[in-house]
Symmetry: C2
Subunit: 176 residues, 2 copies
């Protein structure tokens, strides 16, 4: 019915604000992504740059699920030379290059970006710890399509986010 959720972050005391690291970055995959970036850029008459790749690499290494601001901070930490403006500009390029994609709005009302992958999935966000899980349901997709067809809409995309509490109960939220 639904494909298994992404692995839950282990050892995550429910209460941490920004978990949801995916699998480790496969070194092999990295070249593939870099190739994709280079191809996109040259195809568009744009230029490859160290910065763009470093930013992409950082995103890839976290597995996605970052907001722009979070990315700016990580970049600043890892590569102090790179400015915030470049990060914002790169996000757009990486989205166009289909390396990143806009994903969901978190409860803090920010857009979250994640790795582009061709498989579609939706999200469950834990309202206790902020962890982001993925789900996919053919049943839901089918029902959606039926509605759209019935109403003569042409779907372009959708965003389906469920806010829920995960079973591993929050012991206590950090007082803030």
């Amino acid at each position: 019915m639904s494909k298994p959720l992404a692995k839950r972050p282990r050892n995550l005391p429910c209460g941490r604000p920004a978990p949801a690291e995916h699998d480790a970055p496969k070194a092999a995959k990295l070249e593939e992504w870099q190739g994709r970036l280079r191809a996109y850029l040259s195809g568009k008459g744009l230029k490859y740059s160290e910065q763009r790749w470093k930013i992409a690499e950082l995103i890839l290494s976290t597995g996605g699920h970052l907001d722009a601001q979070g990315l700016v901070e990580r970049v600043k930490k890892a590569h102090p030379g790179i400015g915030a403006a470049t990060v914002y500009r790169s996000i757009k390029v990486l989205c166009d290059a289909r390396i990143l994609k806009e994903s969901l709005s978190d409860s803090q009302r920010r857009v979250i970006y994640e790795l582009f992958d061709d498989e579609h999935h939706d999200h469950i966000v834990c309202t206790d710890c902020g962890a982001i899980f993925e789900f996919h349901s053919e049943k839901i997709e089918a029902a959606q399509n039926a509605i759209l067809e019935e109403q003569q809409f042409t779907q372009t995309k959708h965003r389906h986010v469920i806010y829920a509490k995960c079973a591993y109960k929050a012991e206590k939220r950090p007082s803030k």
Copy 2:
């Protein structure tokens, strides 16, 4: 399967940025809402004010589906004396009073508010004209719940937005 969509805005040349007016404000209903507001306020030891009601009235008259900024602008136009801060503060009060509710993030990444109603529904946003339609599908709700149960999540709420083009084809988008 799905309840009929809200009526489509009539005479809407697909291409206008901010349509989605609901049904006309029923004069009768207005009093009911005002009553609800007064009840909520006095119940909380808060005070009724002209401004709060004027803002609520404006929202009611549009049928919802407004973002904060849009509301500020409308208020400024209709009641130049009311400041933006008051609008923002009122939005919170009106949400607490269950007159308004936070609804969906539009493509411009802002939170949209709509009238509070007890029936749950989700949204279809036309990517051509920006019109917002509503839908509800028991099938989807059921599938959602099944997934959550299977994965031991406790749902709190969800946000399901489909971006699509409505059948009434855009003749032409305003050039910018």
